[in-house]
């Protein structure tokens, strides 16, 4: 497989190195000439010392025959431009972008980037799992990002406590499918009554967060914005 990696920071460097070790053909684009030379010294003649945001140089780096383009620079704007050019102009089958600001994820998806990797969101998710929060926890995005798996940790005061799962009014397109009780996961049946400490797992479009919050956590505090 031929992979074009754009961005020679830590992520790009280790990505290229791993891909080479796994016998893939790799070219790495890095606009900083000194950094490009340093990478070439360390992992070999796979570096094109040009700016991947310029179509001419993307073409020279072999974008038209790439199976995958991974844009992993530190700039979301650059990553978006690179993936868009790769997708629209060079017909690359799969584009992957690093998104540093989670707020840009929707835009990336809307503009056709195939896969989005958000280190910020991953770390945020990890932190949220370890901290007892009264908010919803977004565990993962599914498909092209239109659906999310969301966890609600039921606390005292939750309107769902003591009610059967089937009695809750769920937003359209959103369903509760599992509960984690005392560390054991089981399917959430309609007649199962919810208790304090339950972790309820839901799947639905991200827009259903507010309604889901109302049903499982309580009315949304307008002063505090919901978790992203």
């Amino acid at each position: 497989m031929f992979v074009l990696v754009v961005g020679g920071g830590k992520v790009g460097y280790y990505l290229a190195k791993e891909l080479i070790e796994n016998s893939h053909e790799v070219v790495l684009m890095e606009k900083d000439r000194d950094r490009a030379a340093q990478i070439a010294d360390e992992i070999g003649s796979i570096v094109v010392a040009h700016d991947g945001c310029e179509g001419k140089y993307l073409g020279e780096a072999g974008c038209a025959r790439a199976d995958i383009v991974a844009a992993v620079t530190g700039d979301d704007e650059d990553n978006l431009v690179i993936c868009q050019m790769a997708k629209r102009h060079f017909d690359v089958p799969r584009t992957i972008a690093r998104v540093n600001n989670p707020k840009n994820e929707a835009l990336f998806r809307h503009l056709g980037v195939d896969e989005i990797i958000s280190p910020t969101r991953m770390i945020l998710g990890s932190i949220e799992q370890d901290i007892p929060v009264h908010e919803l926890l977004h565990l993962a995005a599914l498909g092209e990002g239109e659906l999310e798996i969301i966890e609600a940790h039921l606390q005292d005061g939750s309107p769902a406590i003591g009610r059967a799962a089937g009695d809750l009014t769920m937003p359209v397109g959103c369903s509760l499918f599992a509960v984690v009780r005392d560390g054991i996961a089981s399917p959430l049946l309609p007649d199962m009554r919810l208790r304090v400490g339950d972790k309820v797992i839901a799947i639905g479009p991200s827009e259903c967060s507010v309604k889901l919050h109302e049903q499982l956590i309580g009315a949304v505090d307008v002063e505090a914005s919901p978790t992203v």
Partner: protein
């Protein structure tokens, strides 16, 4: 100092760039190799752009690449030495030369440095020579063309 200053090498690799230096370095290495019966390999590397796969049929179809090797062979033959011509294609000439030197356990790698008349004329060292000097495990000779009225 030793009475016989002839350098000792057993397997020499000559880098052919397709310029006027080629004949000079082939002749030089051939003259030195003849009395000691050293092996000579002459390599010409065709660089393949990233826009094409590395195994694209480029070098094999290149008449000029074949001519470069033929001329080197003829020069060596004239000096009564056998030379093995090798045509390679790679992403970068320097890396290909170093790899080939390692693969063949060459103990000498010889490159020419031609005088360039463009831009007022100079000995532009380019990328290949510094790469080879830095990375080749064997001895490296860089043979600079003499500055004569002809080359000026």
């Amino acid at each position: 100092m030793s009475e016989n200053p002839s350098p000792v090498f057993q397997r020499a690799l000559i880098a052919l760039a397709g310029g006027p230096s080629d004949a000079r370095i082939v002749k030089l290495v051939a003259e030195l190799a003849r009395p000691i019966k050293a092996d000579i390999t002459a390599v010409h590397v065709v660089e393949v752009a990233w826009s094409q796969p590395l195994d694209a049929d480029i070098a094999g179809r290149s008449e000029s690449a074949q001519q470069i090797l033929d001329q080197a062979e003829a020069t060596a033959e004239h000096a009564k030495v056998r030379l093995e011509p090798v045509l390679l294609q790679a992403r970068e000439v320097g890396a290909a030369l170093v790899d080939e030197a390692i693969e063949r356990a060459a103990d000498l790698l010889v490159l020419g440095l031609p005088y360039r008349k463009r831009f007022g004329g100079d000995f532009a060292i380019g990328r290949t020579i510094p790469y080879v000097l830095k990375n080749a495990p064997c001895a490296v000779w860089v043979v600079r063309e003499p500055i004569t009225e002809e080359t000026m």
